[in-house]
């Protein structure tokens, strides 16, 4: 039983991290119909920026803020020069958007490689020095608590923002029916821009947390892209709640799979379950059924 509780806790902490980047991915998709696979690159770069700021005298708060700002800026750049560009010449959805994202992801990953080499950088954090708490027989590391707390706050904030604020409602209007939103006077271009910047900033936070959990390594960019994509699809594209539940289920499945079967099979197990799930429910957990 202890093991399962431990697995449950581990899953929760990591799920929180991935829920952040998944929510970012999902919201971007919902508002702009772009498959923001490049978010993996943003997550990666943010980690590096955070780490190097920290080691170059920025101080914790400074490093965090700087990394998040850079992430947001990256989102703005990508939207302006890639995605808005794409929209000029063809309908919004489609493979082209996803492929362009993939191309951007590869550029970002290899830029990181160029700038910071392929050597894994272990991010020594102050958290390492604090011993974990033991709660009901479960090892609860300080980092996991912080991760959960930060992610939870941000996701709830995102959710409330989308539901209650004027901009949030405008975003949902654009998400539901872009042409309609234009007609009612919403500046859809600005909303899309805002969405990209905001969600990229969120991804930036996820990147900082990821650096603390997984260290820094350019090849992780692909993981940081595929996880949100997969989870978003299973949770339902566009749904923040789906991102959270989906991230949790994925982590849980992955950890259970790793525990029940060999470590190498955890991915297999997760994907097979997800595959079967999608076959039965193509729109994901909380996704909208397309007519």
């Amino acid at each position: 039983m202890d093991i399962y509780l431990q697995l449950l806790w581990n899953s929760t902490a990591l799920a929180a991290l991935f829920a952040l980047s998944t929510a970012a991915f999902s919201v971007v998709y919902s508002v702009t119909r772009v498959l923001y696979v490049a978010v993996g690159g943003v997550v990666l770069v943010s980690g590096y920026v955070f780490y190097f700021s920290l080691t170059h005298g920025f101080g914790w708060l400074g490093a965090v803020v700087f990394a998040v700002v850079i992430s947001g800026a990256l989102g703005w750049i990508l939207n302006t020069f890639v995605y808005e560009n794409l929209r000029r010449s063809r309908p919004i959805t489609g493979t082209a958007g996803m492929l362009a994202s993939v191309a951007v992801l590869i550029v970002l990953q290899n830029l990181a490689l160029l700038l910071w080499s392929s050597q894994t950088i272990v991010v020594h954090s102050v958290f390492d020095t604090w011993s974990p708490w033991i709660v009901a027989g479960v090892r609860v590391s300080v980092l996991s608590v912080v991760t959960l707390a930060v992610a939870a706050v941000l996701i709830v904030a995102l959710f409330l923002f989308m539901r209650c604020s004027r901009t949030g409602r405008a975003m949902r209007a654009v998400s539901d029916h872009e042409e309609m939103a234009e007609v009612v006077g919403v500046n859809t271009r600005r909303i899309r821009q805002l969405t990209f910047v905001g969600c990229s900033a969120l991804a930036g936070v996820a990147g900082i947390l990821a650096a603390l959990h997984f260290n820094l390594e350019p090849s992780r960019a692909v993981n940081y892209a595929i996880e949100p994509f997969s989870v978003a699809v299973v949770g339902g594209l566009g749904s923040v709640g789906g991102a959270v539940v989906g991230a949790f289920l994925f982590q849980l499945l992955s950890n259970l799979g790793g525990y029940w079967f060999a470590a190498g099979l955890r991915t297999l197990f997760t994907f097979i379950v997800a595959f079967l799930f999608l076959l039965l429910r193509p729109q994901g957990l909380f996704g909208k059924k397309r007519i």
């Binding site: 998709y29 498959l35 890639v82 560009n85 794409l86 010449s89 063809r90 309908p91 959805t93 489609g94 493979t95 082209a96 996803m98 492929l99 362009a100 993939v102 191309a103 951007v104 590869i106 550029v107 990953q109 290899n110 830029l111 490689l113 160029l114 080499s117 392929s118 692909v222 595929i226 994509f229 997969s230 699809v233 594209l237 060999a262 190498g264 099979l265 991915t267 297999l268 994907f271 097979i272 997800a274 595959f275 999608l278 076959l279 193509p282 729109q283 994901g284 397309r290």
Partner: protein, 286 residues
Amino acid sequence: MEAFLIYFLTLGAIFSIGTMGYNVSAGYAGFFTLAHAGIVAVGAYTYALLTLKLDVPFGLAIIAAMVFSALVSALLSFASKKIRGDAFAILTLWFGFVVVTVLLNWRDLTRGALGLPGIPHPALFNDKVLLFLFCVIVMILSYVVLERIGSSPFGRALGAVRDDETAALALGKDVVRLRVSSAAISGAFAGLSGALLAVFLGFIDPNLFGIPLLVQFIGYMVIGGLGRMEASIAGTFLMLGVREGVRFLPFEPELVGALREIIFAAILGLVILYRPKGIMGKVELE
């Protein structure tokens, strides 16, 4: 230098076959999957295992690789019946992962990450030039067959499904059957490419067939242009040339690797944005 040229041209021919197969699915039928590298892996490992473990003769092993790859690809396309668009993309991507994961973990069969060395091939191909000629001939034959298919009534029906599935249905076209057939054809040539790769390299391991290979094929196909087989050959040789060419730049190896990927991805991105038909494609990338 000459050895390098032979190496380059042979690899180009082998990849071209795979790119053409990919183009059948994405360009002819408008059915974009991300499982292509996985299907190539299926072909490569089928050939390798049959020849290594069961002493199956060359020709038979190649055909078996094609058939098995075609089957796997067709089965995967069945899932598209219920799942469309973005969910389907991720599904096919997962499939590619599943293939690599299975290959990595089924150590009894595949030796996992250690890979399969010493893959047999006809003694004839010890001569690199003869192997090159063989691959080029196979490439040309593949081109002829696939081009013919493209301009046949079947190919035309695929185009209809690609351009407007609803209208195709209204004309009485069995869209599901057409899609599955195109997936089978695509898979067969992906498998052929994989098998020839196994022959050419003499050694394969699961990590050859992951995302990097997928992105390569996507690049070759999209930059060449969708919907035309010549475009796939041109795109493959051109971009493979760019990739190999970058190697000769005067930078350290690690830098060169990253530079190569950046240049490749940048060209792909620019083509997607500004030239959706690629170099000489017939159909725009949606």
